[in-house]
Each structure stands twice: as C-alpha cells, then as structure tokens.
Amino acid sequence: MSSKVPLQAPSGSVSVFRTAHANNCDGSCGLSVTVTDSNITSITSGDFGNPDFPPRICLRGLSQLQYVYHPDRLKYPLQSVGPRGSGQWQQISWDEATTIIANKFTETAQKYGPTSVYIAPYTGSLPVLNGLIGAGYRFASVIGASAGDFEGDNEGDSASPCGANEILGNFDGHDLSDLRYARMIILWGNNLAETDIPDMRFVLDAKEGTITSPGETTPNANGPGAKVVAIDPRYTPTATLSDEWYSIRPGTDGALALSMINVIINENLHNTSYILNYTVGPFLVRQDTNLFLREKDIAGGTSTKYMVYDTTSNSAVPYDQSGISPSLTGSFIAKGISVNPAFQLLTELVNQYPPSVAETITGIAAADIQSLAEEFATRSPAAIKAGFGGISHWYYGDLTYRAMITLSAICGYIGVHGGGVTTYNGALLDAALDLGDWLNPDKLAYTYLAPIQFCDAVLEGKPFQVKAAWFPVDNFVNQQGDTNRTISAMQALDFVVVSDVFMTPTAQYADIVLPVATQYEREDLLAGGNYYLQYMPQIIQPLWESKGDLDMFGEVAQKMGKGQYFNKSPDDYLSLILSGLPSGLTLDTLKSKGVVPLADQDFATASFQPITHPYVPYYKQNFPTPSGRIEFYAESLVPYNMPLPLYNEPIEASPKNPLFQKYPLVFISAHTKFRTHTQWDNLPWLREVIQRPFLEINPTDAQARGINDGDMVTVFNDRGSIQVVARVTNGIRPGVVNSYQGHWNNGDFPTATVNNLTHQKINPAQSVVFLFQSNTAYYDVLVDVKKS
C-alpha cells in the first residue's frame, strides 16, 4: 500500500479576489477566488453587498478550477496543415498567426468586399472587453466586416425579445429578487432550478411567503405564500418544487395564454382601467386597412392622434380628449370607416380559444385552464417567469411571448412589484453603458448579418457573400441549427479563424486556432444577468501562450493598419465604457468595491423613467412603443397578418404537419445543470454524475418501438441523426423526446450532437424588429426513434 506523497506546504502567499462568473447561464454569480502561490486553489460565492440578493454560486462555478487547469486547453497558436477538419496541426507563433490572419482578411476584403469577412462573437463569455460585447465587434467595426449583434442575436433566444419589442418597445425584465413579492408565479417553459440555478431561490422565498411587498402595510388578501405553477412537457426539478405541474404539448403555450385571456375577459376579471389607460385597448382599428384610425382619417388635417369611441358623445374622438368615456368593445362606423377598439379584436381572437378548444390543442384539461386563469387574475400580483428555451426556441416564439405579455397586461400586472413577464434580467445594463464608442469607434460600424443567415451567406451569397470568418467566444458549429449544413458552410469558406480555450467542434474546422486566456487570466467587466456591475480583475497570469480577445484582435488590427483602435490599456477601455453612466461611476470606485449596483440615475436614463427597488421595468407605465402604450395590437405586423398575438401551430412540430406521419415525435433539446450550453462538457466533476448523453422517452413511446431503458437508440429525421442511450422515464410527456443540448461533436460522444436534427428556418415576421431576426427554432422539430 503506497501512501500519497505529501505535498509541499504552501509558502503562505494567499490572496482572495472577487470576480464574477461571466458564462452564459444568466446567473452572473459573484465569485470569490482564492489564489495560493499564483495558482487558483479554491472558489466560493462572492457577496453583492445586499442582504436581499444573497451570495450565489452553483456546481458550474465551483468546478472552474477544472476549466482553468484543464490538460486539454489550447496552449499555442495552431495552423491546419491538412484538409480542413482533418485534425492535422502545427504549432506556430503568435506573430505568424496574426500575420496570416491579417493578410488573409485583407486579401478577402479586397477581392470580395469588406463584408465578406464575418466576425462572430457570441455568448460563450459575457464580459465587455473579451466577451460577447467585446473586442470582436470593435474589430469588425474598424475593418468594416460583417458581424452579428449581441443585442438580439442569440441563436435560439431572439424570438421572445422580438415579441417583447413588438408589444412593450424593448426587452427588459424584473430584477429576479422581485419574484419574492408575487402572489402567484408561473414558471412557463422555464426550468429555472436547473438552468439559472441561484434565481430559483427567489421563487422558493415567494412560495414560503415570508416577504411583504415594498410599502405594503396590510397583509395581502391572498395571504402569505405564492402559488407556484410550472408549465412544461417535462417533469423538471423546477416542476417538482412547484404547487402545480401543467404538462403541455410543446409549442402550444400561445394557445394556453389566449385561452386564459378568454376566461379572464368572460369572467370580467380583467383590469379595465389599466387597459384603458396603458394599453392600445381602446384605440380604434380600421377594418379596411387593419391600421389604427388616426384623427386625420376622419377630421382631415395632419393629426395622427389615435382615436377612441366615446360612449358619451357616441363618436370617435382623439384618445386624449378630456371628459370622454372610451369603449373597449363594439363595432362602429366613423365617417364611413368601419372600426373596432383593439380590445374588441383581442376579445374576438381569444373567443376562438375557449378552454374546451384549448384543451384539444394544449393537452391541458379545460377545467384546469379555467382555474389557472381565474387564479392568475385574482392572486394579484402574479408574475410570469418565462424560459428562453421553452418559449423562444420556436418558430412562432414571438407570438407566444406577445400572448403571455398580453395576458399579464390585461390583469394590470406590467410595471408592478411581483408582476410582469421576465425572461432575462440585466439587459438594461447594456443600455446604461456607453457601448457606442467602444463598439463603434469614430462611428465606424460593421454590417449586420444575423448568425442564422451565415450559412445562406456562405453557400448562396444571400444577402451577401461571406468568404472568411473568425469565431471568438462562440462554438458555432455545435450550436447553430442543422449541423450538417453548418459544416458545409465551414468547409466552403476560404479562410477560418477560431479562438477558444479548447479544440471545440468549431475550432476543428479552422485554418488558424488561437488559444484564449480564461476570464481569470485577464481584466474585464461583467454587466448583465442581474443589475450589478461586477469588476473582473486579472487573477492569474495567462497560462501557456494564451491571450485575451482584446490582445489578439488588437494584434491583427495593427497588422491591418488599424492599430490606433487597440493601442490603449484595458483600464482605458473600461473607463470609456463606464463614462456613459450618468452617475459618474469611475473605474477606481468599481475596482475598490468590486461590485456596484446600477445607480438609480443610471437606471432612470436607460429605462426612461424613475426606478423602484428591486428593479421593475415600466414602473411608471411608460413604454417605448410607437403609441407609448402596451401594443398588444401592433401595426408593424399588419403586413404579416399578425397584428394580434394569434396562435399558429408550430411550423414543424405539429400533428397537422404531413411530416408528422413520418416523424411523429417532437424533439426538444433542453439545458442541463451539468453544462452551460457546450461549456463545462469536459469537466471531470460534472462528468462524474452524468457520464453518457441520453434521450428521455416516455414508456409508451419506448414500448411502441421495442426500446428498453439503456438501449442505444438512433434519433433521426431528414436532416440527420444522433445516437444516444435511451432513458425511459415517466417524467416526459408521451409524444415528446428530449436530449440535452451541448455535447461536442468531436468529444467522447461524437454522435450525440442534437443540432444534427434541428433546422435554420427563419421567420420573416421577426425581421420587423431590427437585430432580432436570428431565432433558431431548436425545439420546433420532428423526429422518430429506433433501436440502434
């Protein structure tokens, strides 16, 4: 029996740094990192200085040492010396690598135009210098390349923000600690307990009901304790912690929302004064054009004021005329033009979805829809926390999200503590910062190309030709829909650069691979995922020859004659970014405190209104929409016949689709707690718990195919297939199968990459909101399964 060799005692040099975990789970945890003798030796949660926002961390943050010191990290720049994707590499110097990149980009731009070079920073890391909002976009701007956009383009996460923009004017969310004030919480397509783990705490606090609302002096009529409802086709950890679990047919959430609106209106539980004052409900809509009736339409002149029908004078009058009683319902003729209040049109729409009809669409019993709607309207305030995956990963995700916001709005829950519809919190931080001068120096700007258009651009020259690309902080090949088509596009490029921490599925298709320093090895700032600015000091020296994005883009820019845009220090750029804050927060203050909540005046400037704590968007009922009101009727969508948040069957994953006869199972690819998308897939502690990728399948569907638990199965459709182990479980709805997304297609389970099965179908209606047209409908997918 051999004993372990005792280690040398540390020399005693121990320091502790506060930073933030800037990965893409939306938790944005503070981290307290212990460094012993220049090595990171421990990590725990970092404080936010606010007892209402406790220190937070999860298993992914606690595993970060295994990421930083992973033996598979890229250590040096590499050049491909075989056919692309062959895995044959030779080590080159940084000088050689950056010279090759600069020459190739210059050559490509001269031959095909500057936009033929595509720069694709993404959500692999979120900080402002070296991440999503970082140096990549600045580089794209100064060389005139094409690029996506961090505001909207989040592959499968654009549909909900698009819908929010259409109805509310922007995409904003409650500080999630505000959930504690809700008397009912619907976790809608949102497995919060597994994805954004620390924020589930606030839901549990609400359920226990120990918190009273700000300013509340008398107990709420509903008593303490929120009712928590999970709507999900899977019996998730979140569902197990809820009071009720509604197993819904995937992609039919919009029909459920419309049916709930129908119940609420029929039972007169809606908030009439709120609808009259803060929504377009009373505004008259012309039956001939489907546009809002304007004053000039009936009175001549140029006034474009919205019109309402005044029941006192029995006439159409400008909405802001005093002493009127606008109608929300009815059908009227205004100077020969047939008109209806928008609320009347909404009522007619939802009348098509009484619970008895919605039951056949959603698979939720009519009586349950009825009681859910009644409780939602009466347990005031009620909050909806929506998932990016469950709601946005659908072709019509924007319509679904609009229906959910409409449901909240008719109850008067928008802009109130404990109410609202929130998917992501922290979007406003970007608005508060001065990112314009950082991303667009000297007003230079890249040309927008949505990531979902990348393959079209490479393979078909639409909307323009792309010939060379650089993928920083982005495992694009693994995460874009339709992997086979994405690989075709990668192979068709003249030149590919990938900068990453590991040899990812994307990196394997590169001509030049650059080793990236992790977030612990360079200075940065995290602004997102919550309402705190978190300073990220450089904690250790970059390992091996790795560099941060700022340095590597700067070196290439210099060799392309644009060095003047990258010749300042990280501190200079952080100061530039902070200079947009009206509060005048300085980098020195931020550094000394480590974490600073966004100041009231910064919030106020970004959200156009005074704020309340915890942050609640639209608190003063101001909406940055064309009308300044909640627009559940949106003129911009008239050309697409979608001015109302109507329900459409999923584009692919519907029994009404003829393809359903061939592929009768809906395939979703949910997020696991053991990864953040593709990140951490190779960390041993997380791999110990879940060792093999699997497919969740209901016993009914498994038996029909002769599949037993543990069998290897092939999941397939016309686009591709995956091979994984069957997990036969009663925790998933019949007719639905799930395999967690994020396994690497060049890892130890190369046949488990779910995007082999997904597609790149673009919803043109989502292009009405600029920058939000890149939604990948990852869950709107049909497959069948057979034993391998």
Binding site: S2, K4, T36, D37, N39, T41, S42, I43, T44, S45, P54, R56, I57, C58, L59, L62, S63, L65, Q66, Y69, H70, P71, A193, E194, I197, P198, M200, R201, L204, D205, Y235, P237, T240, L241, D243, E244, W245, Y246, S247, E359, T360, G363, I364, D368, K673, L683, P684, W685, L686, E688, N698, P699, T700, D709, R727, T729, N730, G731, R733, P734
Partner: protein, 221 residues
C-alpha cells in the same frame, strides 16, 4: 455544543452544488463523493417514480449523518472513528487501517474507500486545491464528510455545502443554542431523520419535500 445539520427538502433543487463544493473544499478525488444527491423516484437521477402523468420525484442530499449512536464508531477496531464532544463523527486517517468495517456498518452507505492513488483534476502534482487545513489522506483508508471540522475548529460554523447552497436549503449550527437557526427550524418545522428506527440518532435532520399536483388532460389525444 451539539453540531447539527438541517436540510430543507422542500427547497432542494437537486443541483449538486453542495456536492461539488464539498469536492473542492476537501480535495476529493475522482470517483469519491463525500456528499451526493439521491433522487427519490425512478431508477436514475432526475427521473420520477409513478406512471405519467402521476409522477413523484424529490431529492435527498446525503452525507455522513454524524450519529450520536454511530455504528461505524462501534465497529472501528482501532478507534480511528470517534465521536467528538461537539457531535462530529471524527475519522482520524492516521489511525485508519483500511479494514472497511465502517463501510459495512453504516446503514446510510456513507463511507467511501480510496482503493487507488487519487486521480485529481486539476492534477495535484503541481499544487493542491481546496482548504489546506484538510488532511491529505493516505491510499487505503475510508473517507467521509467531516462536517468541515477544519472550519469548525477555527470557529467557522459554515461548512462548504452550507456556504454554497444556491437555494438556501441547508443549515448548520449548535442545537444546544436555542437561538441558533437549526434550533429554531427544529422547533417550527416538521423534520425527519433517516432510518430513525435503527436508533442511530443522526445529527442530520430533513424537512420533508412537497410535490406538485399534476394538471394534464387525462384522455390525451
């Protein structure tokens, strides 16, 4: 002092943060967990019992129960396992002879045996991770949760699993102090201990979980 842990299963997310935090603090090698999250439900983790849609699933984080009447202490032939005054079932690795009686005796399946030289990630030939006050274990001893005695002994009554639980589901303190959080919880909440019928008198208490009512169209089309 009577050190006591309370785990609120109505708040447990089954997220494994406590278990991974424990691995980090105590430098547990690959393959050994002092703290695990069992799923009370189906055969695999994160799967429910019952037939769809009438399913049930809860999580049960399990670590050494630090029993007052600990079977492992009774069977240890070399007194490597002892019950400390403060309630910790203490495992002295310098005395452990690797007989594995404690693995057999523990009704909770807690002790793990480190048969092989530890495989660590990050590779600890360069530097050691976690709390430097945690002893390095020789190969061929049993390992288990210590209630983070290396913290307790310096006056820190927050074991790593309590510190990092993102749901606020875990509590620790002195049951002899009526004002401690654990004392308050035991007075106000229903709690159970695992296999109390055995008379082991565990120091870990669980607040029972609740499961949701299922809402689904029964005659699914």
């Amino acid at each position: 002092m009577k050190l006591t842990m309370v785990i609120d299963l109505s708040r447990c997310l089954g997220c494994w943060s406590c278990a991974v935090g424990c691995k980090l603090e105590n430098d547990e090698p690959i393959g050994i967990w002092w703290n695990r999250i069992l799923t009370t439900g189906g055969q695999e983790i994160d799967t429910p019992s019952g037939s769809y849609p009438n399913v049930k699933m809860t999580y049960l984080p399990i670590n050494c129960q630090h029993c007052d009447n600990a079977p492992c202490v009774k069977v240890c032939p070399v007194a490597a396992l002892t019950k400390r005054e403060d309630g910790i079932v203490f495992l002295d690795w310098s005395r452990c002879i690797g007989c594995r009686y404690c693995l057999v005796a523990c009704p909770y399946g807690i002790p793990a045996f480190n048969w092989n030289p530890p495989v660590q990630s990050p590779d600890n030939s360069q530097f050691r991770i976690g709390n430097p006050a945690v002893p390095v274990r020789p190969v061929g001893v049993s390992e288990k949760c210590t209630f983070c005695f290396q913290r307790v002994d310096v006056g820190n009554l927050t074991p790593k699993c309590i510190e990092v639980c993102p749901a606020g589901a875990r509590f620790f303190g002195d049951l002899d102090d009526p004002n401690s959080q654990v004392s308050q919880l035991l007075q106000t909440k229903p709690t159970v201990r695992l296999r109390e019928e055995l008379g082991t008198e565990p120091s870990v208490y669980y607040i029972p979980p609740r499961n949701p009512t299922v809402k689904v169209q029964v005659s699914s089309t």
